[in-house]
């Protein structure tokens, strides 16, 4: 790599750790005015507050929003140089159609816009091998133009086409990554392959070229999103390029702080989720109108406590059957069980506020069970089963797919 590329790449990948948090905001080019990029400038102003290392834009927007990239602390500009119809969205589903691609900018033009690198796709898996060859030629053309002006080339290798099956997806990502590297990529932007083992194969295939993982579809849970990043970093990933998960977030700055904490500060998911503050008193909150009645909450409650699928051991309850609606009963820490206990075997945990059961004091009289107005304390065998909020991160909340349960911090 020449000096120019080296210098420019160091403005994307932090030289102190070799990692990067990049925000993709070029959706308008492929998908049209989707939420988050409709008022792009407004969104990006919030994004910039979260201090991303770089922002990816279409050439048109790069020109219009150049102000965002001025100044020594400003993020680096990355420019998308190609276009494809493949990701064109419809209201709610994605029909297949023939894939086409075209050029929207050149490395020279991107350089004039102030770009620190350009980004292009590389699709592999076409039915039509001629098409594949044409696409690779295009990427190679970008590579040689980039080499001339010392502008780093970031390639986004994506398996696409009939040769892609679910079973070979991870293999194809690794293969496409390698082809991209051979064609001259200076960094890669790749989809997650689903697990660390297969992603480490992608890292190996890339032979030292840094890999950023892309977000793809927008995740609804913070924990889900952060876990995926940690898994990629653990096997040699160099950071993220996230689009919708940032630009469509209510608070893009907060999301970027999370991302930076994981990528640059190397914090664990738990640390980030806890926010680095002292333990707070929390409660479970229920939004039964969101409940579909799937019972995953009670099932995981039993499973995470006893390793069993005994739903009657759940420390929360879902009532109702088809056609609904469903009622959710959770421990509200009202304290009636504590008051009712003659042996003082139940107490309130001072840090988190959950009810603590002292096995030694308990004589299993069952008054607590009678006193509970919600029926969420159970006496089973020689155990009192009461919500312990899973020590601060309730599993029922994390496993609920519909946000019907949440943690309320008081």
């Amino acid at each position: 790599m020449g000096t120019g590329k080296d210098v420019r790449l160091s403005k994307v990948f932090d030289p102190s750790d070799g990692r990067a948090v990049v925000v993709a905001a070029d959706h308008g080019l492929m998908l049209g005015p989707i939420q988050g990029v409709l008022e792009l400038e407004k969104t990006l102003q919030k994004v910039v507050e979260g201090k991303p290392d770089a922002i990816l834009l279409s050439p048109g927007q790069a020109e219009k929003l150049s102000n965002l990239f001025k100044g020594r602390m400003a993020p680096s500009l990355l420019v998308r140089v190609d276009w494809t119809n493949t990701f064109r969205d419809r209201t709610y589903t994605l029909p297949v159609r023939e894939t086409f691609f075209g050029t929207v900018s050149s490395p020279r033009h991107a350089l004039k816009l102030g770009a620190r690198a350009v980004v292009t796709y590389l699709f592999l898996g076409y039915e039509d091998e001629e098409m594949e060859a044409r696409h690779l030629s295009l990427v190679s053309k970008y590579a040689s133009e980039c080499a001339k002006v010392e502008l780093p080339l970031i390639v986004e290798p994506i398996p696409l086409g009939p040769r892609v099956t679910k079973a070979n997806n991870a293999e194809l990502v690794a293969m496409a990554a390698r082809v991209a590297v051979e064609a001259g990529a200076d960094a890669l932007k790749v989809p997650y392959t689903g697990d660390p083992e297969s992603f480490s194969n992608v890292v190996r295939a890339a032979a030292g070229v840094p890999i950023l993982v892309l977000g793809g579809y927008r995740a609804l849970s913070r924990r889900d999103l952060l876990e995926v990043i940690v898994e990629t970093m653990e096997v040699g990933g160099s950071g993220v390029v996230f689009g919708r998960n940032v630009v469509q977030a209510q608070d893009p700055k907060k999301v970027l702080e999370d991302l930076r904490a994981i990528v640059h500060e190397k914090k664990s998911v738990r640390e980030v989720l806890a926010g680095g503050e002292a333990p707070k008193k929390i409660k479970l909150g229920a939004q039964p109108e969101r409940c579909s009645g799937c019972l995953l909450c009670t099932a995981i409650c039993s499973f995470s406590h006893e390793g069993d699928h005994n739903l009657s051991a759940g420390r929360l309850k879902v009532e109702g059957r088809w056609p609904g609606p469903f009622k959710l009963a959770v421990c509200t820490q009202c304290g009636r069980c504590v008051e009712a206990c003659p042996k003082k075997a139940l107490s309130v945990n001072p840090a988190f506020g959950f009810i603590f059961w002292n096995e030694e004091r308990c004589d299993l009289c069952g008054r607590c069970v009678e006193a509970c107005p919600f029926g969420v304390i159970k006496l089973q065998g020689s155990k009192i089963k009461v919500c312990d909020l899973c020590g601060g991160t309730p599993e029922c909340v994390d496993w609920c797919p519909r946000g019907a349960l949440r943690v309320i911090t008081s």
Binding site: R163, T165, F303
Partner: protein, 614 residues
Amino acid sequence: MSTLRGRAYAGKVLHIYLPEEKTRCEELDEKEAKLFLGGKGLGAYILYKNLEPHVDPLSEKNLLIFATSPLTGTIAPTGNRFCVVTKSPLTGTFLDSHCGGPFGIGLKEAGFDALVISGEADELSLLILEDGKASLMGAKELEGMTTLETEERVRKKLGDSFKVACIGPAGERKALIAGIFSEMRAAGRGGAGAVMGSKRLKAIAARGEESVKVHDPKAFERAAWRAHRMVRMHEVTARHLPMYGSDNILETINESGALPTRNFQEGTFESASEISGIEWRNKLWIRDTGCSRCPISCAKVSKIEKGQNGVSFMEGPDYESIWALGALCGIGEKEAIARANLLCDLYGIDTISTGNAVAYAMECYEKGLLKGDDVDNLDMRFGNSVAMLELVEKISKGSGVGKLFENGVKRASENLYAKKGDVACLRFAMHVKGLELPGYDPRAAQGMGLGYATSDRGACHLRAYTAGQELLGYGGGSNPRRTEGKARLVIEKQNEKAVVDSSGICFYAFFAITLKEVRALLEAATGFEFGSSKNLEKVGERIYNLTRLFNVREGFRSRDDTLPERLLSEPMSSGPAKGLVVNLGPMLKEYYQLRGWDDEGVPTKEKLVELGLA
């Protein structure tokens, strides 16, 4: 005690001979469980081993098997499935019909992996399974009751914690398109309800204290979490299905020219936007629900004023029902579709077969093959929703002209041919081996054509859902109009699906996860070691070959692996696939070769040895 107990299996298979209420409990064998898993695989194994060839499916000799799987009743995403396995009275082939209703978990908690029913009860009966015991009880009072009433009555009688599977009036009178229902969800296809009716079994109720335990709880929780996370982060399972149900695809299928319209005369429907997922969500759906343990909640509840039989809520409708009772009959009125679907659910018949029957009647009417009195003077022109609803009611109740159609399109067309002698009425009878076609026109998605022809239970979209790639662009997409590579695609999908159907999870979870995740779940749950996802796919291949062996034993050969005449010789009239027919021959030839089957479609000795089936 079975070595499998506590390893995601109950370890027991209950055989019951109804006339004498004779029960026999067999331990589930570890080796067999590893070879066939559960659900479809286990059911196929039991059926193949125990059923004499060539029995009348509605005779007392046929076996009716309810099978659960290792992941049924666990925290695995969609770990709720049970399946009904029997010899189909509609097709004469092997039949596995799957359902996400609560009965499956009930059966396992009652202490059984599977239930094998033979014989005929002396009177209409209710079978009760509780904590490892079985008892039979007369159920005269349930006679003629709808599925919803039956379940309510049974729970009232036995207790609220019982989980029920039952048939409606259509099953009681052995209508060949009758299904088995559990809390408004159905093992709908292939006539399992008629088999249950032939055994004079109105309902089965199960409960028990046997909660499902797994081999390695820590590893299982990790594997389940990862699989759930993938489901929560995948666009199809986290957005399209939860928002618009299975109907999220209707407009796309229509745009691809693959939405069978007016009995497959066209591939695009002018009122498709009226019955799209968005329209349903905005107008009739009031709530998302889901099967137990399902993070997707594709199920919807519709509210209808003054609904049939005084019921004002209905389950769904889902894509197939919306299409079959809608576009296929030229109907774009949501409320009529919902009402017709409700009738099907209450009386216990399959919506796909029913919609096909109505559409068939409509085409016969428009072509003058049926008229006036033949159809009880209904104006059976395409698009007449009043007539559609009336015919569905007649089919549901087996009254009037409904009698002609309650046994499906194949029987109706043969009947009509015998009466009128016009071969035309056979050409557009849309079924394969007797099972009516689902909602993807294979002329616009060639792989689906091969899938219908080679499916083990007749025209089924869920044995090889190539539409995902051909029409919806999942997994990289595949050109729907080409035949090259489709044999490989169909085989891979059939094998994978056989694993899914034998594991206890729903096909929809499989949009987000792969066999790799299924393997991790199965290994942690059972302690089995498969070594690789490829080896797990081998299990699916074994199961698919076993169901093939069943069909071969019943006399099915390559001549039966075909499609309705219309799809092979009538070019598509409109849309992107205009001018195309299904080019089945070359695909089928390649399919047999890749499968290791001979020209007649019979698995070769070498293949059977390789799979341990010889």
